[in-house]
Symmetry: C2
Subunit: 193 residues, 2 copies
């Protein structure tokens, strides 16, 4: 007889940034109350508990990143050019040192994979979706004849994911932006070879 006042996506995006900046364990309900504008009761009503809010935020983050990736690639007719733009985007995020541009999937994977089976299952599936998306990209690049070597698109997708995870971790030590850009270029070269 009465619908909720808050916008669920908006709340989840606010929660996402809090979890990205502080990590799951260090983000308190008080923090979440502050960033979402929701009182504890409402959070518990809508998401069960703090963990439920995290799991919902993980799903929202994955949807958002999926759309972002699709939008980025739709701007390029050449799949290879799309991949280069994607790599540049990732490197820019790394170089920005903005805690809100960390990858929540990766952050959660590192914090929770060994502790929370359900979270791990969600993250594994999200990783698989990402891998499949990149696999399609490599298939398109292959069709357009811009791939050297004999590696399968799936292998290449996996290698690219590994490299992007690594790049994001490496960025925590604040290397020079030029170093990050060079690493990005090299990754692209290796993965298309």
């Amino acid at each position: 007889m009465r619908s909720a006042e808050f916008n669920k996506e908006q709340v989840l995006r606010a929660a996402m940034t809090a979890f990205m900046e502080k990590g799951y364990a260090k983000t308190s309900m008080q923090d979440l109350k502050a960033v979402t504008g929701l009182h504890p009761g409402s959070i518990y009503c809508a998401f069960q508990n703090k963990r439920g809010l995290l799991l919902a935020a993980l799903e929202q983050y994955n949807r958002d990143r999926g759309e972002e990736l699709q939008g980025l690639f739709s701007q390029h007719t050449s799949a290879r050019a799309g991949l280069a733009a994607y790599m540049t985007h990732v490197v820019d995020e790394c170089v920005s040192c903005d805690p809100q541009k960390l990858c929540l999937t990766q952050k959660a994977l590192n914090e929770l994979a060994e502790q929370d089976e359900e979270a791990q299952a969600i993250l594994s599936e999200q990783c698989a979706m990402w891998r499949n998306a990149l696999c399609s990209v490599f298939e398109r690049i292959a069709e357009q004849g811009e791939l050297t070597g004999t590696r399968s698109p799936l292998d290449r997708a996996r290698s690219l994911i590994v490299s992007i995870y690594g790049l994001r971790t490496f960025a925590h030590t604040h290397p020079e932006p030029q170093v990050m850009r060079d690493l990005g270029t090299q990754i692209l070269k290796d993965v298309c070879q």
Copy 2:
């Protein structure tokens, strides 16, 4: 007039495993008391506080891994063979799914880099040490004439670190062991090319 009863290295190694399994935030003083066998007072006397224990554990971990790496390479006259053995070792750790074989440096980097400047500084320096060690390895491989291409040893060292970070993160999604081994092989190939 009285020396401490506990062995500092032993205590730090116990703390290391606790931090690796649960992360810093979720490891309670009670956990640390349990794994180290030390009462709170002793921990605070020896390491100031929980954070001090973490920083000391990080240093110990770095020393241990440095020796491990040196030991591994000293078993091979060919630097290239040493590198292959090192890669196999990392892949085996990833495949084992043993939380105690996670890399504490990487775990701490992901959890604390944006939150604790001092920890970040320590971790950055450790990363630099690791980079330098791998750089020397690539210099030796180059001297032995087993390197294709024109990339500098430093670039190669950085790429390898990125790949290993990525491999460890990727492993949290439990890919098949054969996939992990193939990724390791590909990384070696790319980095020596």
